[in-house]
């Protein structure tokens, strides 16, 4: 057993850290906590910078546009990326983070060649069309119809909670191609150009007053049948594989560590009754308790990385990373806003306020939703209970 990184890994870490220090634009730095607040022009520019460096999807092999990083290097990379305060890139999250790996495994050669290069360069932005108004936690109940007519599927229905749809070019979809059997079995996986006639996009305003997601309506939308991924009726299985792939990355621990570090630094600078807030015995105790939990989660990632090294992929038990991570992140953001004192009640866009206040209040609001998206805490706990602990389902 060893706690330290190897000297190669340490060297890589230093290289990444230094590069981000030197190359992250000031207006991209320290934007992590606020969540979805990075302005879109800035995001595309930052995408391009990373693409040119070859780090837009560093976990991919070099021949596919990545940097061929090992699991540990990838972890180090993500950790240091967060550590510079840059927010997750929504321009790559669903495209390179989810769809590309799926296409590489289950897509046709044509699909791979047609779509992946533009994902890398940032030319094509993708969004994900899974949830529907009546299919949230119960995703398999989805209703959106796709009927094959000649060379085209004809789509009718609605998707919702589609992140970035109003800035995206393409969407990948779970659609119902068969309603006769078990509900999981009639689902297929399609790719659609958002410029296709019949698609209407309506942004949904979140509690942050931004619109990070949209409703997408489909009215007799014709999608060429070569845009089917996998076989007809394989959609549920593909979605499962895609989510499987995401498990380890479902919770960005680097952002958590960045957040708790932010709280610590802030409380060193804030004055309370003549002393730094961090010296207030109750505050420092809360901070210490959170740091213990954050460290334990970080060590858990180390432990899972060790398992990955010897080839055991994390199964459903990795669900707990997302449950615990999101709930812990929420507690960190609670303390972050607590550190602000009266300023914690303020909303954004006021010259008087510095960025850290803006990040704290937006970030706090955002943190309340992390336990909802990507499989709510309730769903994940049920997965742990039934799939990991094997408690009876009925």
């Amino acid at each position: 057993m060893k706690v330290s990184y190897s000297s190669d890994e340490e060297r890589f870490r230093e290289e990444v850290r230094k590069w981000f220090e030197d190359n992250t634009p000031p207006d991209v730095k320290d934007q992590t906590l606020g969540g979805s607040t990075l302005e879109h022009g800035l995001m595309f520019k930052w995408h391009k910078t990373l693409y040119e460096k070859g780090w837009i999807v560093p976990e991919f092999p070099k021949e596919l546009g990545g940097a061929g990083l090992s699991e540990t290097e990838q972890f180090i990379f993500n950790y240091e990326y967060s550590n510079c305060g840059a927010p997750r890139l929504k321009t790559k999250l669903v495209s390179l983070g989810m769809l590309a790996p799926l296409l590489l495994q289950h897509g046709t050669k044509e699909q791979q060649d047609r779509f992946i290069p533009d994902m890398l360069s940032g030319k094509t932005i993708w969004c994900q069309g899974f949830s529907e108004p009546n299919a949230g936690s119960d995703l398999a109940s989805l209703n959106m119809k796709a009927v094959l007519e000649g060379d085209h599927f004809v789509l009718n229905g609605q998707k919702t909670w589609t992140s970035m749809a109003d800035h995206a070019d393409w969407i990948f979809l779970l659609v119902r191609t068969d309603s006769s059997g078990k509900k999981q079995e009639g689902i297929s996986f399609l790719l659609a150009d958002l410029k296709t006639p019949g698609i209407t996009i309506r942004p949904i305003e979140a509690l942050t007053d931004h619109a990070p997601f949209c409703e997408v309506f489909f009215d007799d939308v014709r999608v060429p049948k070569e845009n089917l991924v996998g076989k007809m009726g394989e959609g549920w299985k593909l979605a499962g594989a895609l989510l499987q792939h995401e498990r380890l990355n479902a919770f960005p621990v680097g952002e958590l560590i960045y957040a708790i570090e932010t709280v610590r630094k802030k409380s060193e600078k804030t004055i309370y009754r003549g002393k730094p807030l961090i010296q207030d015995p109750v505050f420092r105790r809360k901070l210490a308790a959170l740091e213990v939990d954050c460290n334990s989660l970080l060590y858990t990632f180390f432990r899972i990385l060790s398992q990955l090294k010897v080839g055991s992929a994390p199964g459903p038990e990795a669900s707990f990373l997302k449950v615990y991570g999101s709930e812990l992140y929420r507690r960190v953001m609670d303390l972050n806003i607590e550190a602000l004192g009266p300023y914690g009640q303020s909303w954004y866009n006021l010259e008087e306020f510095d960025n850290s206040i803006h990040q704290a209040t937006m970030g706090w609001i955002n943190s309340t939703s992390l336990t909802i998206w990507g499989g709510s805490s309730e769903i994940q706990r049920t997965v742990i209970a039934t799939q990991v602990l094997k408690l009876p389902r009925k």
């Binding site: 949230g136 936690s137 919702t160 009266p342 300023y343 010259e351 008087e352 309340t368 309730e378």
Partner: protein
């Protein structure tokens, strides 16, 4: 010991409830987010016409001279609908300071206007580096001849953007965190040297930063005695805090009602999500938290009404309890609503934001637990 409401209390409750239903809506809240004031002067005027500004004020100034339980009833209903009008800051804070400490001429100058809704008055007492400590006061008032000259900066002045008068804490003696040596001044925003910076709070209301640069105020603008402003301020803030707690309980109740309705109607996996055990038990916890918070509010309100020696303690208990309860309830509500709970299209999110602002207003849980500790002598 008696925590019963009289039929008069209940009849006010009914009037307020029907007013909130008729003259207010969540869509009004949505619109008001883009308004710098965050409330409607028209609605404010209507409330004044109903006599609500004068609820606890003496008849002499146009008030109804009712007991403090009416404040609870009124604010609980405001809280249910998240009515954004600045009742607490005007009636319990600004006007109340004049009522409790002002000279007869000050009272006659100010209170009738508060009662009629024509004069807006709030208090300015928080400063940078003082966090929630109301005795932290670096703003100076220097006597030169007959007048005082005030310099300093107040932050988060509640509803300060529409105020015609500020009651400002100043230091006339002792040092920055002492309770003695604080003097209250009435200052109008038109005075030379007064500068307002508008702020917006998370729940869409207004506040401001108030900067005073050598602002002149005659001795007749002192409220109460020179150097003896702290007890007045403390009493007014306690009453405002108790009022806020009542408002918070109303918000808790509304959050629970909205959540229960949603759980009963939204189906997943073929049945209403309210049939699942985890949502049921979470909803039960929301109810439990609300019941306890409500009791703490009754006790605080009755303590103020009866002017017991324990009223400050009772207020800190209520604020600590309500802050955590409101926060827990609204967080759980968002979680139970799922995605729609996180949008401005749903109503429940407004309660989450109000819960956060309410938690911070008049001191967060840390502040009140700390104050509780000191007041109970350990």
């Amino acid at each position: 010991m008696d925590f019963q409401l009289s039929s008069e209390h209940l009849s006010l409750k009914e009037s307020v409830a029907s007013f909130v239903k008729k003259d207010h809506s969540f869509d009004r809240l949505r619109d008001l987010r883009n308004d710098p004031l965050g409330y409607s002067k028209e609605v404010w005027k209507k409330m004044a016409e109903l006599g609500w500004m004068g609820l606890i004020y003496p008849e002499e100034y146009g008030g109804l001279e009712l007991d403090f339980a009416f404040v609870m009833v009124l604010l609980e209903e405001f809280g249910r609908g998240l009515l954004p009008e600045p009742w607490i800051s005007n009636v319990l804070l600004g006007g109340n300071l004049v009522l409790m400490g002002g000279s007869e001429s000050q009272k006659h100058e100010v209170l009738p206007g508060v009662v009629s809704g024509d004069l807006m008055i709030t208090a300015a007492y928080l400063e940078n580096d003082g966090r929630y400590d109301i005795n932290f006061c670096a703003t100076s008032a220097e006597q030169r001849g007959d007048a005082y000259f005030i310099s300093g900066k107040k932050i988060f002045v509640l509803d300060g953007l529409s105020a015609d008068r500020f009651v400002v804490t100043t230091r006339t003696s002792e040092s920055v965190a002492d309770k003695d040596g604080i003097t209250l001044f009435m200052v109008s925003p038109q005075e030379e040297g007064v500068e307002l910076t508008p702020l917006k709070t998370m729940d869409g209301r207004n506040a401001c930063i108030l900067e005073l640069k050598d602002v002149s105020a005659p001795g007749s603008n002192v409220i109460g005695e020179v150097g003896r402003g702290y007890p007045l301020l403390s009493e007014a803030i306690d009453q405002a805090t108790a009022g806020l707690c009542a408002e918070m309980v109303g918000g808790m109740q509304a959050s629970i009602d909205l959540t229960v309705a949603y759980l009963s109607e939204r189906t997943q996996f073929g049945k209403p999500i309210g049939t699942f055990q985890t949502p049921q038990h979470k909803a039960a916890d929301m109810f439990i938290q609300k019941e306890l918070a409500l009791s703490s509010v009754y006790y605080a309100i009755a303590s103020i009404d009866e002017k017991t020696d324990e009223r400050a303690l009772a207020v800190s208990i209520a604020k600590a309890k309500c802050s955590s309860a409101y926060m827990e309830i609204t967080k759980a509500a968002i979680q139970l609503f799922g995605g729609i709970g996180f949008t401005n299209e749903g109503d429940i999110g407004f309660f989450l934001k109000r819960a956060k602002v309410s938690e911070i207003l008049f001191g967060d849980t840390n502040y009140h637990l700390d104050r509780y500790t000191r007041l109970s002598g350990y």
